[in-house]
Each structure stands twice: as structure tokens, then as C-alpha cells.
Symmetry: C2
Subunit: 456 residues, 2 copies
């Protein structure tokens, strides 16, 4: 009997939370975003529940109206390196932009995290959507949306090339002969593109998982194609089962179009489950979560996909304003969807804002109800797993302690790790070094040629 | 009775070692440079001996003739973040270049390390001397030596400005009123210079030590002035007591010239002690260390301060070649000294190369002899402490277990930490945030004005 297909789980560890008001919950630690003990505790909860990975989001530009979480928080690669030392199996996924970094530095730091953690690193590739970021990085302007995806392709391709600088068996460490490495297995990259020139080689070996796992979160046309071509996993926000199913089918189809096995691309919607032991507790916890979202905070949060647009200038109960092109050069996929929904359903600004920030009903319920919902999405072409973006201070704790055991009983979630790298958790094959592949293919050709000489 | 002046100690944790051949020692771990357990063990040895800090060196350009240590190693900020999680008191000093980074990213990652570690971060500011680095970072050319120091001044000043984005008491976290922070205590930087434009503010608060501690290693004229103006500590290579004394006096004088208290600038020569329990063991261990340096490796190592110049083209036993300007745009201070010494003492290339790489006799001996030497330098105007750059695989272990207790008995080295931040270990005052200082000074003026109204 073969094992049923397994869910994949990630924990978004988010300090004081994604929303504007979550830090005001009576049990919330207001300093969570720079509290190492808090991060350590969340990562351990996720590892105890045998999650595949913890996920650290990021952004690079703040102003005085930014959400509390953005204002003061750890940088992803440093906090994940610290978490590598306090966990042993769980994957560690860092959000790092391509628009304001150099491939050499990104390749090196993520690979270093990969070595520190014994092969557990992942890179969530983002292009940065707030134009103010340019002003922090000595740039005269923020690159337009389409250019950002051209940058992303070139950046990721250079990083992946650098990660193959050393073949897996390059380091011979022969103390007798003094040969530290085999020179034929070290390769310069010599990348010369439109945006980056990177000679290489990288000054760090391949890790135990060969190359770190790639994540992306694209919803625009450019974003979807980029994700389908390069990503091992996609973090997506889905409004409904139907929307998730459409996205899932579309991305798998695109992956096939790029010559890939669609099973190698995991689609992971971000969800904010609220779990209670019974109907009363569920409703009480849900109302607590709703009350954490004030209309002022919701108006602030709504601005973000529109390049931090100030929505407080419009009347709350009039129809959602006509914004023209606003958002198209920012978070294009997300802002397009908000505009479309407001137009189709004839919503007011207040409705759109609260709908954007308030918790949904989908994954709210008793442990069995939430598990049912998860199983339903998983078995009806909507997801390969989920990224848990907790809303209440004890959200990850209650999900891992109450819902995960139900899913484990159903055989949908592992009860222990079978591998030790993130790639192994995901069931992905070890990527053969490109130079080793050439070597092997040349060797095969020689063998073929040799064989053809043999008389029949 | 006041406590005698205390030594400061740093441990350079260097994987397979600074030299070309150290990995060939029978007890050496050939994979040490990417072995997290090895780094963890070294950091714990240093912390058990109550060292002030561990120090991670760095470089960004390799080629097939680079030293084993450069080829494959951890990136400093990631490995130090991991060490932050496995230590509790010792300082964590990361080498990060100013020539190929943006101030926003450097300020953020070092501050994140500072928060993770509870105020134990330090930044060793380097300008990168290998011209090949440019080719890894999409740059058409490596900036000339003098320009690199102009970049350094502007970069460091922007980073320090970003570190003051938030006043220490900016985060009010008032759950009742919903005030997460006091807007009057958030400050944009608005830096617009010759090399960098950085608006800010930084998206992370000040840490427990206010600002990370600054290190530098300048020996050229530009380097000395930069170090004397900005650094809290200087890592210096000294050939002899007299040279160390001259450097020490010069740097302290320059610090005074910049209006600083010379005690706030620690001069820390890097030394490679070899310790044995008796004269026989000392000689045996010294000879072991000498034998690890082959003439081929010494020739390779010598090239580095000269922009990885290939010295194997010259006859070994002829006088040291005339190199003209070579090295002046690379490691200027170091290469100038080598040329001057070769000329003055009429040395051959073989002599210069072996002298450059072989261990010196100064800090070789029994625990008491090495402690005597350390005390002599410390008490005769040559150093405020030392950075231990171990040569043998058990070098740090034997130094901390054999020499440190002798220094502790003499009252020169702490037997326990009295503070918990690197700044406290160094006895440096907490730096007042520049905006808080303006506020306080304005308040004082108001008070003075108020008082002047009071009739006498």
C-alpha cells in the first residue's frame, strides 16, 4: 500500500504579525519582531509539528505610517542563521529581493545559511514593490514591474550558476599530496548580462542539498511565468477555493509548458486558521481576531499593494475609488485583483478595506473542521499544502497542537521527518551540478563511441 | 585598590587557517571552514576563557590559486548569527566591505545580529584590496586606494546615521491607545553623498548597546586616519615590539587629534601563539608549525597583499624583485612594509616569503613565557590586548586552557564577564542617539533660558 500524498506546511514567523493591530491583543508580545526567544519558540513549535519550513517575509522601505511589523524587525538571513542553530530538521526560507542586491552576495549568504543548517535553506525570490525602496539603495528610480521580472530572471540564473561553482566532489582534501581540491571541478561563471556581470567562482561549496530550494509568490502574468519556470514552491494568497483551484491549475499547466514535472512545483496558499475546542470558543476567538482590525488600520493596510497609497483621503462609504493605473507598477497581481473585485461586486472603500484585512471564515473552526477544510482544498486541486500565517498570538501553537494531530491521524501529515534537508522534505530530487552533468554526458558519449567500435 | 587595566582578547576563528598549509596538519579538520560544529566549539572555547569577542575575517574574490581558507568558507554575518544562538556573552565581530555593499543593507544586517545577540555585534570595516572583486559585483573597475577610503568614510557615516533612526525609547507599545511608537522619535537620514544616497529610516530599532562596536585594520596613512577617527578597536599585524609600540603611539596620537579619548581606541595586534607544557614540547610544536609552511605555499601567500601577484615567476634566491608601484592600490600598508624591509635588509625572495608565512618566535613558549611576553607588550605601550590567530589545530584550546589562567592569576584577564554587551566588555560608554542628544541639548538650553528669567 503506497503512502497517501502528503501535505506540505510552512510557518510564516512574523513577529507582531502581518496586520496593523495584532500587537494590541492582550497576550501579544509587542516586541516580538526583534525578540529572538519568541522566534526560537515559534520555530520549535513548527518543528515539533514536523512542518517543512519556517518562512520569513521581508521589505526594505518604511515610513511613519508603515505597519508596526514593518517598522522594526529582524533581517531574514541573520534571524534564520540563528534559528538554524536552535533547530535540526525544519527548512529555513528567507525572503530576499533581486531588485536591490547583487547575485554574488545573495548566492553566498543563502549558501552559507544552507551549510550552517546542513541543507535546509530556501530562497523566496521577491522583486520589491515599494518605489521608496530605491531611495534607500542609492538608485534614482525603482525599476518598472516588467523590468523587475527581467532583473529577477537574470539574478536568479546568476545565483544558480554561482551555486554550481564547485562540483560536489571537488574538495579532495588529500593531506599527503597537498591537493585541497581538484582544479578541474572548480568553474567560473563569467555571467555578463543586461543587469549583472558576475565572474565567480563563488567562495563556498555546494551544500548537502545541492542547491537551496526556490520560492516565489507571483500572481501577475510575469510573476506566474517566472514562478512556473524557476520555483520549487509558490506562496499564494487565495480568496476562495475556486480562485485557488484556478490558480493551481494555471501554474501547473505553465510548469508543464516549461518542460517541468508539475509535481516538482508546490502551490502553497497562505492561510490564517483560527481554531477553538468547541463552537463557542471558535466564535469567541474569531471575534477577537475581527476586533483587532480597526477600520483605520484596514485603510492603512490596503494602501500597501498600491505603493503605500493613502486611502484615508477618500470617503469610506462611497464606492471604491477609481485609481486608474495605480498599483500596476507596485504589487500588480494583488492590486489588480482588489480593483476587479470592487468593480464587479460594487463595493465601498470600507467593505474592500475590511475584507482585505479581516480574517476569513474558511479556516475557522474546531480542529476537525479546520482539518476537513485543509483536506478538501488539498484533495480538490487547490493546494499542495499551506503556509500558516497566524493571526492570534497563540495561533501557531493552537494550529500545531490541535489541527496537526488530526491531519497526522488521517495520514496526510508526517509524524516524523524522513529526510534532513528541505529538498528531501519536499521530495525533490538532488539537482546534479551543471558541470558534472556535462562531464557525465561527455563520458556517456565516449562510451557510446567506444561501443560503436565494437564489432557486432 | 583599583582593578589593574585589563587585557582585551579576540579569537580569530578561521576554519582551516590563515595559511596555505595548515589543513595538512594530522589533527586539522580539512572541512573546518564550512563546519558549523567546529565554529561552535571555537567560539565556546573563547567564551569559556572570557574573551571579548570572536572575529571573522573575509574576502570576496577567489581563483584557483587562492589559499584553501579563501576558497570555501562561511559568510561572516550568517555564521556569527548562528554563533549568537550558541553563545551568551562573547562579542561577535563581522568583517564586511564598504566597497561592494550598500549602507542600508550593512546597517540592517549588523543591527539584526546585534538584536539577536543582545548587543554583542561588532563591524570590522574593510575596503577590499583585490581588484578581481569588482568582477563579482557588476563593477567595471575596483576603486583606487584613496577612493576606497573616501567610500569608507561616507559608508560608515551613513550606517551610523541609520543606526540612530530610532531613539532608544521610541517604541511605546501602548496597547490601550494604539500608539506603537512615538513619531517624534523616528528620524529619516536623508543622506546624499558622492557615493551613496540613503533616505532611511532603518527598519530596526537601536540595540541594547546603542550601536555596534567598530573595528578597522588600517596601516596606510589613509587607513590610520580612518581607524583613529572612527574605530573602537584596531586589528593590527606587528612584526616586533618596537614596531607595535610605534604604531600604538601613532594611533593614540591621531585619535587625540580627532578629539577622542585615546583609551576609547583599543590597539589589538594579531598574534599566533604556540604553547607547550615544557621546553621540549614548545620546540616540537614550533617545528610542527614551521613544517606546515612550504616554500610554494609561502610564495602563494606573499602574493596576496600585492593583488594576488604571481611571485613564482622570480628566482627564489635572488634579491627580492623590484615591483615598482605594485601593491599600492591593493593592501598598501602591508605591501609597502614588505618592500621596505626587503630593501633595507637586502633579503632574497625566499627569505621574504618564509618570513611572511612562518610563525614568529615572540609568542612561542611555556604558558608562563607566553604570558610574560603578552604582559610585556601590554605594559610597554604596544597593545591593549590581542587577537589570537591560532596556527595549530588545537592552538586556541591550548592558549585558552594554558595561558589564560596565568593571566587571570596575574589579574590581567577577567575571570567572569561583568557586562553583557561587547561595548560593556570594552568599557565603552553607551553612545547617546544623535537625535536624543539634540533634544537633550535643546531642553538644557530651554532650562538655562528659563533659569535666566529667574531673578537672582
Amino acid at each position: 500500500m503506497s503512502k497517501p500524498r502528503q501535505l506540505k506546511f510552512g510557518a510564516m514567523v512574523h513577529g507582531v504579525g502581518h496586520g496593523w493591530g495584532e500587537w494590541r491583543h492582550p497576550d501579544a508580545q509587542a516586541d516580538a519582531s526583534t525578540n529572538f526567544d519568541w522566534y526560537k519558540g515559534q520555530a520549535r513549535l513548527a518543528e515539533a509539528a514536523k512542518f517543512d519550513f519556517v518562512f520569513i517575509a521581508d521589505s526594505l522601505h518604511i515610513h511613519e505610517k508603515s505597519s508596526p511589523h514593518y517598522l522594526n524587525r529582524f533581517e531574514p538571513l541573520t534571524i534564520l542563521s540563528a534559528l538554524a542553530a536552535t533547530t535540526s530538521k525544519i527548512g529555513l526560507v528567507a525572503t530576499v529581493t533581486v531588485s536591490y542586491t547583487e547575485p554574488f552576495q545573495v548566492a553566498r549568504q543563502i549558501s552559507s545559511l544552507d551549510h550552517i543548517s546542513g541543507g535546509r535553506a530556501g530562497w523566496n525570490v521577491v522583486t520589491s514593490w515599494l518605489s521608496g525602496t530605491a531611495e534607500n539603495f542609492s538608485k534614482s528610480e525603482h525599476p518598472p514591474h516588467a523590468v523587475r521580472y527581467r532583473i529577477a530572471r537574470e539574478h536568479v540564473s546568476a545565483v544558480k550558476g554561482l551555486w554550481d561553482s564547485w562540483e560536489d566532489d571537488a574538495f579532495t582534501h588529500n593531506k599527503q599530496t597537498g591537493e585541497f581540491f581538484d582544479r578541474s571541478k572548480l568553474h567560473a561563471l563569467n555571467h555578463a548580462g543586461d543587469f549583472f556581470q558576475v565572474k565567480g567562482p563563488l567562495n563556498i561549496a555546494r551544500s548537502r542539498q545541492g542547491q537551496p530550494v526556490l520560492f516565489q509568490a507571483g500572481t501577475s502574468e510575469d510573476g506566474r511565468n517566472f514562478a512556473a519556470e524557476y520555483s520549487d514552491a509558490i506562496f499564494v494568497h487565495a480568496e476562495s477555493l475556486e480562485e485557488a483551484q484556478a490558480y493551481y491549475a494555471d501554474l501547473k499547466r505553465r510548469a508543464v509548458g516549461f518542460g517541468r514535472n508539475p509535481d516538482d512545483l508546490s502551490i502553497l496558499p497562505g492561510i490564517r486558521p483560527i481554531v477553538g475546542r468547541n463552537a463557542d470558543e471558535v466564535e469567541q476567538r474569531y471575534q477577537q481576531a475581527v476586533q483587532l482590525v480597526s477600520i483605520e488600520d484596514a485603510i492603512g493596510a490596503l494602501g500597501r499593494p498600491f505603493n503605500d497609497h493613502d486611502f484615508s483621503q477618500y470617503p469610506l462609504d462611497a464606492p471604491f475609488p477609481d485609481l486608474g493605473d495605480l498599483g500596476a507598477n507596485s504589487q500588480k497581481g494583488g492590486s489588480d485583483r482588489i480593483k476587479q473585485q470592487a468593480r464587479e461586486q460594487n463595493l465601498t472603500l470600507r467593505q474592500v478595506a475590511l475584507d482585505f484585512s479581516r480574517p476569513r471564515r474558511e479556516f475557522v473552526g474546531t480542529p476537525e473542521q479546520v482539518a476537513d477544510q485543509i483536506q478538501h482544498w488539498f484533495e480538490h486541486g487547490a493546494s499542495d499544502g499551506f503556509i500558516i500565517n497566524s493571526l492570534l498570538p497563540d495561533g501557531l501553537k493552537s494550529f500545531t497542537e490541535l489541527v496537526i494531530p488530526v491531519l497526522q491521524q488521517r495520514g496526510l501529515q508526517r509524524t516524523d521527518y524522513s529526510g534532513s534537508t528541505l529538498r528531501e522534505h519536499f521530495g525533490l530530487a538532488f539537482p546534479v551540478n551543471r558541470h558534472t552533468a556535462v562531464r557525465l554526458s561527455a563520458a556517456t558519449k565516449v562510451t557510446d563511441a567506444e561501443q560503436s567500435k565494437v564489432p557486432a
